[in-house]
């Protein structure tokens, strides 16, 4: 039963992302054409909320529900993988209009053709696993 909280967080996340319209292909297109502040507002406020929360966690040395002091590991240093991987991701994001979260959310909401996007994303992830050692990182 200790897992139920994760299901609840997921339900909340699914509702918020749908109601915010961040799951909408249209909103992603509009964002990439700088024709609305909507998506930029969402992302900036989410980051602002996150920065403040994480600073509070760190400065108060807060403990998580497991009783450990909250530590967030740094990302590995580098440029190549983040830039190249990011560009490929962005190409797909603007084409399918969905990043991984919205894919699941929309499929769950009954947009069945999103299942094709998920199959593609699994194939892409699998292909990365096969090619990982040959790619510059």
């Amino acid at each position: 039963m200790k897992f139920i909280k994760f299901l609840l967080v997921g339900i909340f996340f699914g509702i918020v992302l749908t109601k915010s319209e961040a799951v909408s292909w249209y909103r992603i297109y509009e964002m990439f054409h700088f024709q609305s502040f909507h998506m930029y507002g969402i992302i900036m406020v989410a980051i602002g909320t996150g920065v403040m929360g994480i600073q509070v966690y760190k400065r108060k040395k807060m403990k998580n529900t497991e009783g450990e002091i909250i530590r967030i590991p740094d990302k590995d240093k580098g440029i190549t993988r983040y830039l190249l991987g990011g560009i490929l991701f962005g190409l797909g994001w603007a084409l399918a209009g969905a990043c991984p979260g919205p894919m699941y959310i929309l499929f769950g909401a009954g947009f069945w053709s999103m299942g094709i996007v998920i199959v593609g994303a699994l194939a892409g992830t699998f292909a990365y696993g096969l090619l990982k050692d040959k790619l510059p990182h």
Partner: protein, 185 residues
């Protein structure tokens, strides 16, 4: 309670998405949606083909539950918490889409021109959806995260690699949206 049926404004949405990330960190986890794709590859036996998929995926079951929850949340929001008044785009965006023969939202989240069943299963439709998904899946793993892991979590933790990844997201997105999409449609 009427507001619950209307689209959420950006400031409320932003605070609530930030809260989801903070909540997961407080629960001793992290906010990252694309890592579930790797977990699923592992569940389906990907470990036979690459060491990248040989890890203890059972330690990631909590994240699969977040995904299951997100699917349920999407269902609830679309079927019970929407009055069809959403997705009010910039009229210029709608006109632009019209010139590419992409239908206007009129309350819909997704265009039928891409996601309608009659279009999704044509060779062109399949290529768009499979190709888009492939790029997202490949790119997210190559970059080590997606919108949730880099744009929200990483930048919130002041990580330079995440800033680089998000610059990449936008370079790719601008290229697709401005130059490649008009060629496809």
């Amino acid at each position: 309670m009427d507001f619950i049926f209307k689209p959420f404004p950006w400031y409320l949405s932003g605070v609530l998405i930030g809260a989801v990330m903070l909540l997961l960190i407080y629960m001793g986890k992290n906010f990252g949606m694309s890592s579930n794709l790797r977990t699923l590859c592992s569940v389906f036996g990907g470990g036979k083909y690459s060491g990248f998929f040989r890890f203890d995926w059972k330690a990631q079951r909590w994240n699969l539950l977040v995904v299951l929850g997100a699917m349920i949340g999407g269902f609830i929001a679309v079927h019970f918490l929407s009055d069809g008044s959403g997705v009010n785009l910039n009229p210029e965006t709608v006109a632009q889409l019209g010139r590419m023969n992409i239908d206007a939202p009129e309350g819909k989240l997704l265009p039928d021109a891409i996601f309608g069943m009659e279009n999704a299963f044509t060779p062109k439709g399949l290529l768009i959806l499979l190709g888009g998904g492939f790029l997202v899946g490949f790119g997210a793993r190559y970059a080590g995260g997606c919108t949730s892991g880099h744009a929200i979590s990483g930048i919130s933790n002041l990580q330079l690699p995440s800033v680089i990844a998000v610059i990449g997201f936008f370079l790719g997105g601008l290229l697709m949206s401005h130059f490649i999409l008009p060629l496809i449609f």
